[in-house]
Symmetry: D2
Subunit: 354 residues, 4 copies
Amino acid sequence: PLPRSIGLKIGVINPGKLNAITDVPGVKVGHETIIKGDSIRTGVTAIIPQSGNIFQLKLAAAIFSGNGFGKLAGSTQVDELGNLETPIILTNTLGVAAAMEGLIEHTLSQPGNEAVQSVNALVGETNDSYLNDIRGRHVSRQNVLNAIDNAKEGQVEQGAVGAGTGTVCFGFKGGIGTSSRTLPQSLGGYTVGVLVQTNFGGVLQIDGVPVGEELGKFSFSDKLLNNVDGSCMMVVATDAPLDARNLERLAKRAFMGMAKTGGIASNGSGDYVIAFSTAAAIRIPHQPQTPVSTTGYLHNDFTSQVFMAAIEATEEAIINSLFSATTTRGRSSRLVEALPLDKVIPILKKYNRL
Amino acid sequence: PLPRSIGLKIGVINPGKLNAITDVPGVKVGHETIIKGDSIRTGVTAIIPQSGNIFQLKLAAAIFSGNGFGKLAGSTQVDELGNLETPIILTNTLGVAAAMEGLIEHTLSQPGNEAVQSVNALVGETNDSYLNDIRGRHVSRQNVLNAIDNAKEGQVEQGAVGAGTGTVCFGFKGGIGTSSRTLPQSLGGYTVGVLVQTNFGGVLQIDGVPVGEELGKFSFSDKLLNNVDGSCMMVVATDAPLDARNLERLAKRAFMGMAKTGGIASNGSGDYVIAFSTAAAIRIPHQPQTPVSTTGYLHNDFTSQVFMAAIEATEEAIINSLFSATTTRGRSSRLVEALPLDKVIPILKKYNRL
Amino acid sequence: PLPRSIGLKIGVINPGKLNAITDVPGVKVGHETIIKGDSIRTGVTAIIPQSGNIFQLKLAAAIFSGNGFGKLAGSTQVDELGNLETPIILTNTLGVAAAMEGLIEHTLSQPGNEAVQSVNALVGETNDSYLNDIRGRHVSRQNVLNAIDNAKEGQVEQGAVGAGTGTVCFGFKGGIGTSSRTLPQSLGGYTVGVLVQTNFGGVLQIDGVPVGEELGKFSFSDKLLNNVDGSCMMVVATDAPLDARNLERLAKRAFMGMAKTGGIASNGSGDYVIAFSTAAAIRIPHQPQTPVSTTGYLHNDFTSQVFMAAIEATEEAIINSLFSATTTRGRSSRLVEALPLDKVIPILKKYNRL
Amino acid sequence: PLPRSIGLKIGVINPGKLNAITDVPGVKVGHETIIKGDSIRTGVTAIIPQSGNIFQLKLAAAIFSGNGFGKLAGSTQVDELGNLETPIILTNTLGVAAAMEGLIEHTLSQPGNEAVQSVNALVGETNDSYLNDIRGRHVSRQNVLNAIDNAKEGQVEQGAVGAGTGTVCFGFKGGIGTSSRTLPQSLGGYTVGVLVQTNFGGVLQIDGVPVGEELGKFSFSDKLLNNVDGSCMMVVATDAPLDARNLERLAKRAFMGMAKTGGIASNGSGDYVIAFSTAAAIRIPHQPQTPVSTTGYLHNDFTSQVFMAAIEATEEAIINSLFSATTTRGRSSRLVEALPLDKVIPILKKYNRL
C-alpha cells in the first residue's frame, strides 16, 4: 500500500489526482525492467516531458547538483542554454552510455530531425551494483528505446521497476517513486510532479517519524564507517511558467525534500535534480521564427508556493518508492528486504502519525 | 529551557560538551544587543574563528548559498581563495556596511597588520524590519567592535540577543541558536559546531513533529500569499581538516538541516552557510615562507560522517533559537510571541517525542 | 588622444555615436574624484542603468566573476534573482561600505520607496593603495551621493577620474575607460556599452601589438615574482533584451575582452563583470500587477553577435582608460606615469597598426 | 611548418623541450584517425595523465565551462570530488557514448580494478559534422581503446588527426594542437602543457595580428548571421601541485588564451577546459590508508605565473592546430582549406611579426 492509502499525509498541500509526476499534463513515464538469471537486476526509466518533437520545441529546464558523485550526462548544456531537448533517461551508473545511444537514436530518427547533427542526451543514474552485475553492462540501446516506447500518461508503476529494479535506500529496497502537489487556484493552481530513483542512505524519517532509529538501521549506526554511499536522482516537472533560473531554484527545493527523509547526501552519493516546465507559452523553438519571442514567466515573488510543493512532493515520492519496492534477491545471493511495513506501521502509530 | 533539557534528542550523534559552536576549540562568540525605545530591536553577533591574528594566519573556508536573496558581504573572495581572514559578523540587512566598517577597523588596527591594504570583511544578515526600525540604520561600527570584544569561549547566549534581537522564525520569535556534534573516535573524533540567526518561514517541524500544522501557523496556511520571506544565516565550524572544496560540501549539509525544521527557502529568503575549519595543520599564512606548504587534508571518503554531524547540529541550532527566544514587542507596537512551550510540549508528547 | 582618434580601430564592429557606455539609451555615468594633499588619490564612479526609480522597476542583470579576489557587494542577490535594483558604484577596496551606505541612502530616500526595508547595494572596487592612502578610508557616503548626482548622459570623462583616480594598469596609470559597439540592423541593431575601472597587470597588448614587451614592462619580466595583483571592474550595458542567464554569458565575454589586452587575471586580481539590460519590455516590477508578465527575450541563437560586441567594447574600453589617464603622483611620493604615447605610437606604427 | 619554426614567438615564457603537453612528465597522447570513403572524417584523441592505474591513484583535476553548449561527460563528478580517474578522451559530439564505453572497458579491465563498480569517464567533444557524417556514428569503443593504446610520450602529432580529423576553425581546417611553457626556476620551474581540439569561430588573430580581417574571413563578416558555432576542447596539464580549486582557476586562464586567438565563444560553442596536476605528492588514492594524508599544495600567491603560462600555451596550441592541419575534403564534397600560409606569412610580415 502507498503511504497515503494507509492515512499518512506528508505535507500540507494536496496531491494531484494521481499523486504522480504524470499529474503535470503531457508528462509520460515508461519503464524497462531488466531481470535475468541470478545477478541481473537493473533497468531503465524514461520520463517524456511532452509529446511531439521536443528537440524542435524544447522545454525550459535546469539542473541542481546536490552532491555530484555521479555520471549525469547532458548537464552542462542544460546549465548553459536553459533547456532540454530529449526525454530524460534514468538507469544504472555503467548504463549511461547505452542510454545516450538510445536517446540519440530516438532523436535522430524522429520525423523533422533529419538535419539534426547534435543531441544533448540527458541521462541520470544510480549505482545498483549491490544487487546487479553492473560490470556486465546489461543495459542496451534497445532497452532505452523500449522504455521510451512504453511511456504513457496516467498511473506510474513504482518500486522495484525500471531504473529502480536494483537500488537500495536506507538499507531497504528502494526504487522508483513519484508524487505530486497541486496548488490551490489562489496560489496559482500549478501542479508540481516529482519522480525519484532512490538508492541512498542516512537516517530514515517517514513524515518526521524516526523509523531508521527505531529499526536500529541507519548510517554509522554501528559506529564504524559504513558504506552509506548511493544516490538519488530526482526529476521535477511543473506546468508553472518558470524560466531556467527559477527552475534551478525549484530543483534545489527537491534536494530539501530529500533531506526531510533523512538523506545525508553522503560523499559517494550522486544526488541530482532535473527540473523542467511544460508551460506552452515558454517552449523554445529550435529554429525560432523571430529573434525575440513573446513569453510569459512567473515573477520571482510567486515562486515560493511552487518551491514548497516541490519539497513536499519529493519527500513523498521517496517514501512512496520505499513503500512500493519489494524484497529483491540479486547478485552473489544478496537479499535486500522491502521496508518492513509490519514493523513500520506500528512505529508510525507509536508516534501518532497514523 | 532548551529542547535537550526537556528530553528532546535531535539526531543520532552526541553533542559536544556545551552543545554549542564553541565546542570547536578556539571558537568564540560575542553579542551586542541593541534595544532602544519602542522601535529599535536589532544587534550584532560576532563569531571569532580562532584567537590571534587571523588575517595573518587565515582559515580554510567556504560558502554555500541556499537562496541568495541576501546581502552577504565577502562571499566571492571566499569562493575564489578558499579562506577567511576576518571574524564573521551577523547583523541586520541594512547594517552590513557598518559591520564591514567594524571588521576593517578591527583588522587594520591589529598589531602586525600595519601594512594591510585590503580586507575581505565577511558579514551576513537577516532582515529584522518587522520588529526593528531597520531604515533608521541603528547599527554602528562601534557596535560591531563591541561584539568582537565581547566574544568569548564557553556558553553561548541564545535567543533574542545580538543579531537575533529582532528576528522572526516560523511566525514566532527567532534569534540566535547554536548546537554541536562530536563524532566518536572511530569516526574521527571531530567536532562540528553550528550557530544560526533564524528569521525564516515554512512549516515548522520540531524533531519531525508537525508543530506548525498543529498550531495552525505555517506558510500559505490561509491559502493566500503570505509573506514567508526571511532568511537564515548559518555558520559551521569544525576542527576536521577539510579543504575549501569539502567545506563547501559541508556548508550544503547545513542547508539540509534547515530543511528538516520545515524551512522552505522561500523566494525572499537569504539562506547562506559559511563553513570554516580550525585545524592548525591547514591554516593559511598571509605571507607564506615557501610556495608549497605541507598540509594534511581529510580524504573525501571520510567526510560523510562530518556532513551528517552538520545536518544534525544545524537542525538543533534552529530549534534551540526558537526555544530560547523570548516574546518581543517592537516597532509599530508589533508583538512577536515566543514559541508557546505550553502548547508545544503537549504536541511533542502527543507525537511521543517526549 | 583616444586610440580611435589616432586611427586605431579595435575590432570589426562599429562603435556607437559616443563610443561610450552612454550609447545605450538611458545609461548615465557620474564621477566624484577625491584628491587631497599628497596621498589621497581615490574616488567614486556611478553608473545609473536607467532614469526613474529602478528599485521599483528593476533591470535584468547578472555577474560573472573572472577572478574573485575582490569585495564586490551585492553579487549573490543578483545571481539569485537575476536583477539589479540600485545604481552600480565603483570605488576603492576599503570604500565599499561607504558606497553601500550611499546607495542605501539614495534608495531609501527616493519617492515611492518609503516602505522599502531591504536594498541590495551593488558595489565594485579595485585597490588603489599604491597611490592612495586607502587605509585612511577617505570615501564617504556623501561622495557616493555626489557621484550619483553628477551622473549624466552623453560623453563620459575617462582616465584618472572617479574610481579610476588612483589605479594602475600594466604598470602605467590606469583609470576609467569606456567604449561601445552598435550592431548593424541585420544583426539586431543592438548596442553594447562597457565601462571599466582598470587596475591590473599582465603583458600589455594594444590591438594585438606587443606594447608591454616592446617597453620591457610586463608581469614577471624580471623573472622574479612581481606583484602583478590588481583588479578590473567591468560594467556591460545593453539594450538587447537578454534575460539573466544570457546576461551572465555576456558578462563572461567582457572577461574575454580583458584577456585580449594581455591581462592575466593574476591571483590577486578582482576581475568582475556586471551586465544588465535596459530593454523596457523586460523590466521587472518590484510589485508586479500579475504573477505572470508578458515579456520578450532574445533567443539564444541571436546572442553571438552581442557577445562579440561585448568582447570588442571591453578591449577598447581598457585601452581607452590607458590612453586617457594622466601621470599621477600619490602617497609616499610614488609616481605612476601615463602610458607614454610618444613611445607607444611608434610601436603601433612599427607593427603597422597605425 | 609550426609557427615557432618560422620565427613566431607567442608570449614571453619559454616553451618546454617539445612545446607539447607531453613536456609535462608522464603525460601521453594517442590518436585514432577515422577516415573512410567520402564522408567519414572523424577520430579519437586520448590524453593519458600518468602511467599506471589512475583509477587507484587519481589526480587532482577541475573543469571550467567557458560556454557549455557541449556534451562533456564526467564533469559533475570532477567538480564535486576534485579528481579524475580515467584518461581524457576527445572525439565527436555523437561519439561521446562510445568513448565512455571505451573508457569504462579500459578501466574495468585493468589489473587491480576487479572490484570497481563505478567509473567516471571523462570525454570531451566538438562537432565535426561539416566534414563528417556524424549521424552515422562511426566512432566505436574499439577506436577509443586503440587511441589509448597508441598513446605515447614525446612528440605529439598535430592537425587533422585523431579528434581533430574533421574539425573547422575560423573557417579553416582546424584540429589538434599542443604547446607548453616551462617557468624559470625562480618562478617555480613548473611546466604547463596544453592540448586543444579546435572547431570554433570568431575573428582570427595570430600573435595579435588581424589575420581574419586581412583575409576577409571572420564571424559576421558578411553582416548576416553566419553559423559561427563550434567548440574548443582544451586540456591543461601541469606538474605544479595545484589543488582542485586552483586547477579550476588555471582552467579559466586557458579560456583567456582562446580569447586571444579571436575566439568569441559563440552561442553554439562548447568551450571547456579540463585541467589536472601530475604532482606525485598530491595524487589521491582510491582507497586511502589513512583518513588524513600529508600533501603539499602550492599557495595561492604563487599561482599567477602558472596562470600566465596556461594562457600562453593555449593561445599557441590553437595556432599550432591551424598551422598543422591540412586541407580536407569530406561529406557532401565539402572542402575545408588549410590556413593559407602563403597568404598568412606575408600578413605576419606586414605586421612586423616575422
